[in-house]
Subunit: 132 residues, 4 copies
Amino acid sequence: MSSRSYTLTGRYAETDAQGVVHHANYLTWFEEGRSEFLRQVGMNYSGFEEAGFFVIVAHAEVDYRAPAFYEDRITVTTNLSKARRRVLEFTYRAVNQDGQLLAEGRTVHVVIGRDRRPTSLPREWLERFKTT
Amino acid sequence: MSSRSYTLTGRYAETDAQGVVHHANYLTWFEEGRSEFLRQVGMNYSGFEEAGFFVIVAHAEVDYRAPAFYEDRITVTTNLSKARRRVLEFTYRAVNQDGQLLAEGRTVHVVIGRDRRPTSLPREWLERFKTT
Amino acid sequence: MSSRSYTLTGRYAETDAQGVVHHANYLTWFEEGRSEFLRQVGMNYSGFEEAGFFVIVAHAEVDYRAPAFYEDRITVTTNLSKARRRVLEFTYRAVNQDGQLLAEGRTVHVVIGRDRRPTSLPREWLERFKTT
Amino acid sequence: MSSRSYTLTGRYAETDAQGVVHHANYLTWFEEGRSEFLRQVGMNYSGFEEAGFFVIVAHAEVDYRAPAFYEDRITVTTNLSKARRRVLEFTYRAVNQDGQLLAEGRTVHVVIGRDRRPTSLPREWLERFKTT
């Protein structure tokens, strides 16, 4: 289970009155890290929901190391650290254009169906994660 | 068709690096103005969607007059300026705790069904808007 | 160090395609919990920044227990769990109008000055936290 | 004054309970369109603020033509439609990966200084806009 990266540009709307990116946006950046991870292994998250599998967030944590600024080029590296049929866990690192570590994070997810009750991902999907 | 008001407190997350509330948030404040308008006339928007009517935004415009700051107490007054079965139009004014005008706006909405195709609101609902 | 509460209404803009409040918004709700805590003890955070003290987020974590929906009335209770001159820690609980627990969280903060370097809050401020 | 384009991917956090991108996000996408326009003509907006020129939003309007979805690839084309020393005007078009028009918009900006009072952009900057 290798990691995948994508790069974004800090948006003006993401800054706050301290002149830096507001801390809540890292959860959104990490979410796009998951999206990008899945796209890069050929399993778009859109397809999950079309198939009736909703991956919800059960836990999220972020350690903030250094501020991000408007127009910074930030690379988010996402690692699928645990893949079970009912639980997924991802870890994240965000670094800026100078290689400076901005934040590290971890999210834990559970899988629910259209009825909002817990369910399991197809076994083949899990295999696919493991071989990528 | 009288107007309805509600008051909010400027959130830190709503500010940007200019130290003022980011301009996109006014669309959210106006949206909550519509929500509050509907709640105050006894027709929660949640009920619209449960009944299969989705009121989408076709046009939005804002004139920004003065900046809003974190912790400002802002009163948004919402007026239903046009109410047809397929089209609703609202106008808005936002003022701060000193009575200073911050922004004025207008949004135009069309009604769609679960199939995302245009539909009409029930005639009785329109009557209700007109008598409140 | 008692706790303080405030109540908000779930905004439409805070929902996502799963039909529930997007998980990143809880960090904003908790931030407003901190703001409200400080206002209720008579020490607005605006005053901190005017005096040159910036309280930044070093760590944040959230456990999500149940979803929040548009128009839910959500009460956030904020507790100042640690108050040192250089480090503050808050814990949070969010419950809905039915008393159902939605989320619990914790944030750790450090104090920096206008130069973005670590500094200490005035000793009197700490005393004030402790006696409220 | 030619136009400039950039492409973004619709974020999950940008969707709302209607399953489409929430209308307020278009203002953010247009803002990044302006940022990208300036970067592409070699005049980063970061540099404006460092030089003491703050370009604020005086008016914004959006016509919404079709919904955007999570994972859509959206191209925003930004055109500098008016460039005076005290007033800038931009227009925008957002289209999806199928070439479908999603939204058109217009924003009007005024220039202020660090003291938040109106000021004028340097004449050379205007020349630079006109020759790109």
